[in-house]
Structures are given as C-alpha cells and as structure tokens.
C-alpha cells in the first residue's frame, strides 16, 4: 500500500472510490506544478499583482515596550486581498484549476473567510462557484455571504449535522462526487485527504519564506519563537514552513474556548480531549466521542472552531517540533483590544489566539530575542462577532435602529 500523503501515522486519503480518479488527477497536476519553477513564479507574481505580497513584517514597537521582553514582529497576512492568508491558498488552487482546465470551483467555509476568498478567485478566473456553508454560519456571518453572492457565487446553506464548518466540508465532498469532471474542490486549510494538507501548506509557505527573509533583514537575526493560530492549520504551516530547518521554536495556538476543562473548546493538540480518528478523508486527532462520533466544538473565532487538525501538525506535535498551546475566548478579546490600542492593528479573532500566547511569553524573554506572530487576517470583517465579543451597547443600539428602518419599509 502506498504511504503517500502520510506524516508519521497521520494523513492518508480516505475517500470514496468515486473520487479516487479525481484525486489522482489532482495529485498529478499538483506534482507537475510543484516540479515546475515557472508555476511558482506565476503564483508569486499573481500574489504580488493581485494581492499585496510580500506582505509586510511590522515591528510592534509599542507592544514590545509594553511587555518589556522579546522584540515583537508581526507578519501582516491581514493585508492580503480579501483580508487573510486564505487568499494565498485559493489563488494557488485557482492556478491549478486553470492548469487542469476545470470550469467550476466549490469550497466549504466556516467563518466565511475562505468562501469570500474562493468567490473572489472564481470571479477573477471566470469560474462558476458554489460555496457550502453551515446554516448556522450563514446566519451569523451574513456579511461574508453578501460579498460572496455579489461576486457571483452561489452560497448553499448546509442544514445537516452541527450545520457548521465540518458539515460544509462533507457537503462539498458530496457535490464533488457528482461533478468531479468539471469541478475542483478548493479545500480551505491544510486538512483533508492527500494532497490537500501538503498542497495547501505549500501555497501558504510563501508566508514563512517572506517572514524569514524579512526578519533577518529587519532584526538581523532569526526569531527565537514563531506563533500562529491553528484552525485547520494552514496559516501555521505557512509561516512555520520558513523556519523548519532553523533553530526556531514553533508555537501553534488552538482555540481554548471557555477553557480546556470546559469541553467547550476546539483544542485538538493542546488538550487531551482529542483522539486519533479518520474522518473527512484523513487521519488525525479529532474531538470525538468514544464511538467515533464528532463532538460539537466551540470558539469565539469561527475559523478555529473545527474538530480536526492538519495531519502535518499532528505529526509535528508528536515529534515535538511544534509546541501547542490554547487561548481562551476571554484572553483573545483582551489581546485583540491591547493590539488595537497599542499598534493600531486589528487582528482577526482567529489570529488573536497567536497574540495571546506570544503576550504570555514575550515578557519572560530577553530583549535580545525576537519573536514573530502571524497575523493571519484582519478583524474588521468580523465586526458582528467582535462587537458581540466586546458586548458593545452602542453597536446593539445601531443594529436595533437599522432594523427599525427596515421594518418600516
């Protein structure tokens, strides 16, 4: 049996027979592209001309002063077109779609970030586009649905299961099974069957490549530690990718939700609640019950609220190359608030998880040391969630007034 797509005991490809040919085609296209330096150049150029890569590495002078420890640098994936690192993966897969000659793209989305990025890519590449999104997420992330629809995508609410991200993934697979000839499924994170974990990580590796170069240039040395939040794991794999060969500690931060002992979290690797399993086409740690049924998870950040985790990260956790921590919802809101006030940056709630852990450790480090935090996305897309997280009464009054205007129509 082929060991393709395994990272230690994690990964693999657990897919229905009907998708096997499609995956073979995808793997072939991916491997061809990966072996072709012109493809990478096209990709880098596209990201330079359409998004704003290289994204800056911003030195957080005020936060550094505030904590009085390590020098803090922030990698600014929030400045990507559509507002997050998700754009990297999606544009890369868009180029692969062109290579494969497909005409339609589908994707799952939780928070909506990956859906917006995919709809954007589809518009740019002239592809038909369907986005699967849990009904619960459609309801709470309407702004993103609005943009996807305006960009010409069809957004299909998924009404089964927990009606969130994992169900949207299932539904996307269901679509793919019926239309694999003309359709590519652009999975949004470094999860799923081979080649997705590896391929998505490859596209995201731009982040780490740039960050390594930039930190050497700006700080004159490698960082002691690099922090990234971990949902599926793509932004983390992206930035970590630049530092695997270096003596740099890599720290992944998962959603601690209401606390690791509350069960209301989404920590697969930082908690001991997850166990090895096989679902959604791959083997990794899942938050599941003893029967193997997936649990409901919780996080203030929709993008981290997922039962599984990249098999590559599961492996790196096992080997000890990446350390995993968790940040609670409350800590996240505090870190976000501090970052806004000190630096004028608005990290996404997802990204803020990485900030929490960095803020815990920076003060204990020496001023000679440097750390890098990956700001995977911008928070201003999530005003509904963030305003609720802050419990802003003026915001509530504004929405109530707006609703009355609509009622009066």
């Amino acid at each position: 049996m082929s060991e393709q797509g395994y990272f230690g005991e994690f990964g693999g490809s657990f897919i229905p027979e009907i998708l096997v040919a499609t995956f073979e085609e995808l793997i072939a296209a991916y491997e061809e592209a990966r072996a072709d330096p012109a493809f990478w150049k096209t990709y880098v150029d596209l990201m330079g001309n359409y998004s704003c890569r290289p994204t800056p590495l911003t030195e957080a002078v005020n936060l550094t002063r505030h904590f009085g420890g390590a020098r803090i640098f922030i990698k600014r994936e929030d400045l990507n077109h559509t507002g997050a690192h998700k754009a990297n993966n999606v544009m890369g897969q868009g180029l692969l779609i062109q290579r494969m000659g497909k005409k339609r793209v589908i994707a799952e989305t939780g928070a909506g970030q990956h859906g917006v990025a995919t709809a954007t890519m589809a518009a740019k590449f002239g592809l038909e586009c369907t986005i699967y999104m849990g009904e619960v997420d459609v309801a709470r992330q309407r702004p993103n649905v609005f943009w996807m629809e305006r960009m010409g995508a069809t957004v299909v609410p998924v009404t089964e299961g927990s009606r969130t991200l994992k169900d949207a993934i299932n539904e996307a697979f269901r679509d793919w099974v019926t239309r694999m000839d003309d359709t590519h499924y652009a999975l949004g994170t470094a999860c799923g069957p081979h080649p997705f974990p590896e391929m998505v990580s490859w596209f995201q590796s731009l982040i780490g490549e740039e960050a390594r170069r930039q930190v050497l240039e700006q700080a004159g040395c490698l960082p002691s530690r690099v922090y990234a939040c971990v949902g599926g794991g793509s932004n983390a794999m992206g930035i970590f990718g630049g530092f695997f060969e270096d003596d740099v500690e890599l720290v992944g931060v998962e959603a601690g939700g209401a606390g690791l002992d509350s069960k209301a979290h989404a920590s697969r690797l930082a908690s001991s609640d997850a166990t090895l399993g096989v679902a959604q086409g791959y083997k990794t740690y899942f938050l599941q019950n003893p029967d193997g049924q997936m649990n409901e998870t919780h996080s203030v950040a929709a993008g981290l609220d997922y039962v599984g985790v990249s098999p590559i990260l599961a492996h790196l956790s096992q080997t000890g190359r990446v350390r995993f921590e968790a940040a609670t919802d409350e800590e996240v809101v505090d870190a976000l608030s501090l970052t806004m006030q000190k630096e004028g940056l608005i990290p996404a709630l997802e990204s803020s998880h990485a900030f929490v852990q960095a803020f815990k450790e920076a003060p204990l480090m020496s001023p000679d040391e440097v750390i890098v935090i990956n700001q995977s996305g911008r928070g201003d897309k999530d005003i509904f969630t963030i305003a609720d997280a802050f419990g802003d009464p003026e915001w509530e009054a504004f929405i109530q007034k707006k609703a009355k205007e609509y009622d009066a129509r």
């Binding site: 027979e17 009907i18 089964e160 299961g161 019926t178 679902a279 599941q288 193997g292």
Partner: protein, 253 residues
C-alpha cells in the same frame, strides 16, 4: 461466504434485491419492523448502516437518517445488539455499512470480531480505499467476513483488478457519478461500464445508487446479480410509513 449464497440464490432468481437501512432510524423499534417488512417483501440480503456523524459519501436522505439516529441516542453498541437480533431472527444475510472511523475507534480487530459474533456476513466501508485497508482486511479475513468494495465508472481497469483482489462477497458498482439517491440515468456508457466490471472480477456484482422502482430493477435484470435499493426505501418510510415497505419491495419484482 456471501458470494456462494448469492450465486446459489441466483439459480432461482434472475436478480436479487439488497436493501439498506440506517440502524436506529427513526428508532430501533421501527428499524426492526422495517427489516421485517423487507424480509417479508422478499429481499435477498440487507445492509445495516451504523450511523456516523460525518457520512461523507451519503446523500441528503441517508445523511439525515444518520443524524436523526444519532440524535435519538444510537450507539455502536446498540447497533451491534440490533444486528445480532435481526441476523438471529431473519434468514437472510446482513452486511454492515459504516465509515472507517467507527471501526477505527472501536479497534478494527475488535470490530470485526464483534461483527462476526453478531452474525453479520460482511461490511461496506465507503471511505476505506483498499490502499488504506491493511488492518481491516486482515481482521475481516480472520473472522471470515466479506470485505465488500466499490467500483465506480471512473475506476480504471487496473484499479478494478486491484480492488477485486482485495474484495470479498460481491462488488458494489456505483451506477453513476454521485452520492446515494441522486437521479439515475443509465447512460450509453452504462453497458461498457458493466462489462468492465464483470471483466475485472469473479465476484457477483451489485448495482446501487439510485435504483427506485420496478422499471429500474427490470433494466438491471440479467446485467448484474444484485439491485441495491437504498435511499428509496427510506423515502417510503418517511412518506408512507413503515407498513408500506413490504408492498414497495413486492412491487419491485
């Protein structure tokens, strides 16, 4: 083994019927009554699906049944009890259908042992390709259980041979691209596909995904050994009640 049963039974019948239920949907009591109706209606073998929270290869109807069964408190253990009860009570072979995580979490070896103990005859695990199935095949073999695999229209000839070499009982042929229950249209390529399937394996062939009335069954007569009626019986239960199942099955031949 199942293949023998199927070949034997085919001596009397020009096509066999295999039906499918989701254990515990709408309840275990109902499941039992549905099995009863099906057996009385004359089905030749049955798939019992152990519900899974992420049934990636199932369409909306079966997906829904999986969810409702779990919500009603269905557990793997309870499903085995149910399987044991029906295979003791009814004189047709039962095979289990579920997703790999259910086996994996249980322990693949233990799961196979337990299947055998429950009197089940084989299993269909749609998200377990033969490449990943080492432990499973071993466990199934040790328990004389048939590992049923799937062919699809885009499975290459080479791959069909590979699959066949691992498979037991029968091969489940997907009639068209798509998840269970979508509208089937038997295309021009259909015959070519079926002859590829026959050429690739000695095992009996079952054809599934979308079979829903006597006309569909008629069409398959002589072409495959088993017509699989999956989603449609769930629809009958949902729309016309448990008692309608027997009549529905009877009308199929």
């Amino acid at each position: 083994m199942l293949a023998d049963y199927i070949r034997k039974r085919r001596e009397d019948r020009d096509i066999l019927l295999m039906t499918h239920i989701v254990a515990g949907y709408p309840s275990f009591d109902d499941s039992l009554r549905i099995v009863e109706q099906m057996v009385e209606g004359g089905v030749d073998l049955m798939e019992l699906q152990v519900p899974f929270s992420e049934p990636i290869a199932d369409g909306p109807v079966i997906l829904h049944a999986n969810q409702r069964s779990l919500e009603a408190g269905s557990t793997v253990d309870r499903c085995f009890e149910f399987a044991e009860a029906v295979s003791q009570r009814f004189d047709i072979p039962f095979v289990l259908m579920t997703y790999y995580n259910i086996l994996f979490k249980f322990g693949v070896q233990e799961f196979a042992d337990r299947m055998a103990a429950a009197g089940l005859r084989g299993a269909i695990v749609p998200d377990l390709p033969p490449e990943e199935a080492g432990d499973y095949l071993e466990a199934m073999g040790r328990n004389e259980l048939d590992p049923i695999f799937i062919f699809s229209p885009n499975t290459t000839d080479t791959r069909m041979s590979l699959i066949s070499s691992r498979a037991g009982g029968f091969v489940y042929c997907v009639a068209r691209k798509g998840v269970t229950g979508a509208e089937t249209s038997f295309s021009a390529d259909f015959e070519a596909y079926l002859s590829r399937c026959s050429a690739a394996t000695e095992l009996p062939l079952a054809l599934g995904f979308g079979v829903k009335d006597a006309a569909d069954v008629d069409f398959l007569r002589g072409q495959v050994d088993i017509a699989v009626i999956g989603t449609e019986t769930l629809r009958v239960v949902d729309e016309r009640g448990v008692e309608a199942v027997r009549g529905f099955i009877e009308e199929l031949r």
